[in-house]
């Protein structure tokens, strides 16, 4: 019997990924940092840390907080800025043969447009609009929670960028459906969902009759939000036709299948990279093993089988 070739590839508007396992923005650095733990180029793609026009130093004070089944972060988009990215990181990505999606964020529509233009000019094949980061004072989240604003933003970026345009959705909205439709109507090639859930961690110490309080207000991520993400993806998959890249607490191969079953075409791994720094590569291997063992020759066949039930 001839060995079937295994086709795990995913293509979105010309952006080719060898498999559907992607690492999420902010959890995997800019390029090959995770090579110390696993083979980064074996992944479908990595999403870079959110990049802004200018470098940012992020928030002061405590930035991360562990919670039951997850974590809260308020990094505040500390990043090296697009210029340093192009100069220092892009060459490494290209040299290592790592497929990547540039995650961009801004304070104004103009910021996004400029970043998209820069991406276009530098032949970057995929960008992800972070319109949903709850950790910065201005911009960002506001675009992601109002359907009209989002629609207009996506439309403007679309006009300036012809490759794969992914819009990353916030779960902190009353209607998942409306916001996903706005992204689709604005011209997105795909949506990714979800960004972090608004959350707060409080740590109290009681010393000498007085309380000392530390708070971390930011975005909740990790396994605890998987049910929120499943629900979100399930709902939007009923109203939009463009591909959905699922994010939220994905850790195990079962998790990946669960998201396929509600309509995801690919997945992103975030917080799990911290707990299991080789999680993403392991998922690629698990997926391959499963497909070989049960005779699935390409990804959509598997996705149909899980979804169809």
């Amino acid at each position: 019997m001839a060995v079937k070739t295994l086709d795990l590839s995913v293509e979105i508007n010309g952006f080719e990924m060898k498999n559907p396992i992607i690492t999420a923005s902010g959890t995997y650095g800019y390029n090959n940092e995770f090579d110390v733990f696993c083979d980064v180029k074996a992944l479908g793609a990595i999403v870079t840390k959110g990049i802004t026009l200018e470098p940012r130093s992020g928030n002061e004070g405590e930035r991360i907080f562990e919670t039951t089944g997850g974590m809260i972060n308020r990094i505040g988009l500390e990043n090296i800025g697009i210029e340093a990215f192009l100069k220092e990181k892009l060459p490494v990505l290209n040299k290592c043969g790592i497929d990547f999606i540039l995650n961009i964020a801004g304070n104004t529509p103009e910021d996004y447009i400029k970043l998209a233009q820069i991406a276009q000019k530098n032949n970057i094949k995929a960008i992800e609009l972070n319109v949903s980061c709850p950790n910065v004072q201005h911009g960002c989240i506001e675009f992601g929670t109002n359907k009209q604003t989002l629609y207009e933003l996506v439309q403007m970026v679309r006009k300036n960028y012809e490759h794969c345009l992914i819009v990353k959705l916030s779960p902190n909205v009353t209607s998942a459906e409306e916001i996903a439709e706005a992204a689709q109507n604005g011209g997105a090639d795909a949506v990714s969902a979800i960004n972090t859930v608004r959350g707060m961690g409080v740590k109290l110490d009681f010393l000498n009759g007085r309380f000392k309080k530390t708070t971390v207000s930011g975005g909740l991520s990790g396994q605890c939000i998987k049910p929120v993400a499943l629900s979100f993806v399930d709902r939007i998959s009923k109203v939009i036709d463009i591909p959905i890249i699922a994010i939220g607490g994905i850790t195990s191969f079962e998790d990946v299948l669960e998201f396929f079953s509600v309509g995801a075409k690919a997945v992103q791994i975030g917080t799990a990279n911290f707990t299991h720094p080789n999680a993403a590569e392991k998922l690629v291997n698990d997926l391959k093993k499963f497909m070989i063992q049960y005779n699935f020759s390409n990804l959509s066949e598997l996705q149909q089988a899980v979804k169809g039930v």
């Binding site: 110390v36 130093s57 917080t271 911290f274």
Partner: protein
């Protein structure tokens, strides 16, 4: 590749009121230097837990663990012989140089200094190891100290807050005296933040080199999540550095104390 390791717990021994010495056999770890740490996967928890290496010899990593919350409880409840997953080696290192070095530990902060002291002594660098604890039962003595001075193990000087062993008071109270007597060229310290601050400032007043080992809650351990940053003053610019990768060892002069 290779920073994620599977090891086997070889030994767990109680070495003070709340601190345990844990020995891990790590066949895939070839080298760890003083100042570096390992980060242990604890079942059910999102963050791995970082611990300074307090000795490394022939694939055996020794960490000294103080019981705190779920993570340390998980590790200390593991049976000898059971496997354990961890990232290593992580972080930067103490600089090893031929300078007369005063080591200042406080509480569990003594942990990485054992390893540094050992290395320095091997290289015949003169050291003086001083450490402060709450009380005599809190004094951390490694399971097989090479020296034993009345239950004070390898320390050349001990203070306890209650005076129950060694000199009475905080180790900070004796800093000037120790500097005056030992005349170090360099101070290396690992201790709670307030102690580190005093050590760094005292070193600066005396014009001494100073390396301090900092702590911060960590997620990624390799500098990518930016969760563990502290601020350094380099030249006249304040910049962010990660404790996990740029540290945990910093130049005492540069740290911006908030």
């Amino acid at each position: 590749m290779g920073k994620n390791n599977q090891g086997t717990i070889k030994d767990i021994q109680k070495i003070s009121e709340e601190v345990y010495s844990v020995k891990i056999y790590a066949p895939t770890v070839d080298e760890i230097l003083p100042g570096q740490y390992i980060s242990i996967l604890c079942e059910g928890l999102t963050f791995r837990r970082p611990f300074s290496v307090s000795d490394f010899d022939n694939h055996i990593i020794t960490v000294l663990i103080k019981k705190r919350g779920k993570g340390t409880e998980y590790i200390l409840s593991r049976k000898v012989g059971s496997s354990i997953e961890f990232s290593a080696p992580l972080g930067n290192v103490f600089s090893v140089e031929n300078k007369k070095t005063l080591l200042i530990g406080a509480g569990i902060g003594a942990a990485p200094l054992f390893y540094l002291n050992k290395k320095l002594k091997e290289l015949k660098v003169k050291t003086f190891f001083a450490a402060g604890f709450l009380s005599k039962d809190d004094i951390i003595v490694t399971p097989h100290p090479t020296l034993s001075r009345k239950g004070r193990g390898e320390y050349d000087f001990v203070s306890t807050d209650d005076g129950s062993n060694g000199n009475k008071g905080s180790i900070c109270d004796y800093l000037e005296k120790l500097i005056a007597e030992f005349k170090p060229e360099k101070i290396v310290s690992c201790a709670p933040r307030p102690v580190l601050k005093i050590v760094a400032q005292t070193a600066q007043q005396h014009g001494l080199d100073c390396e301090i080992c900092m702590e911060k809650v960590m997620a990624c351990g390799i500098g990518v999540c930016r969760g563990c940053v502290i601020q350094l003053m380099q030249g006249d610019r304040v910049i962010n550095k990660t404790v996990c990768k740029d540290g945990p060892v910093f130049n005492g002069k540069e740290v911006v104390w908030q």
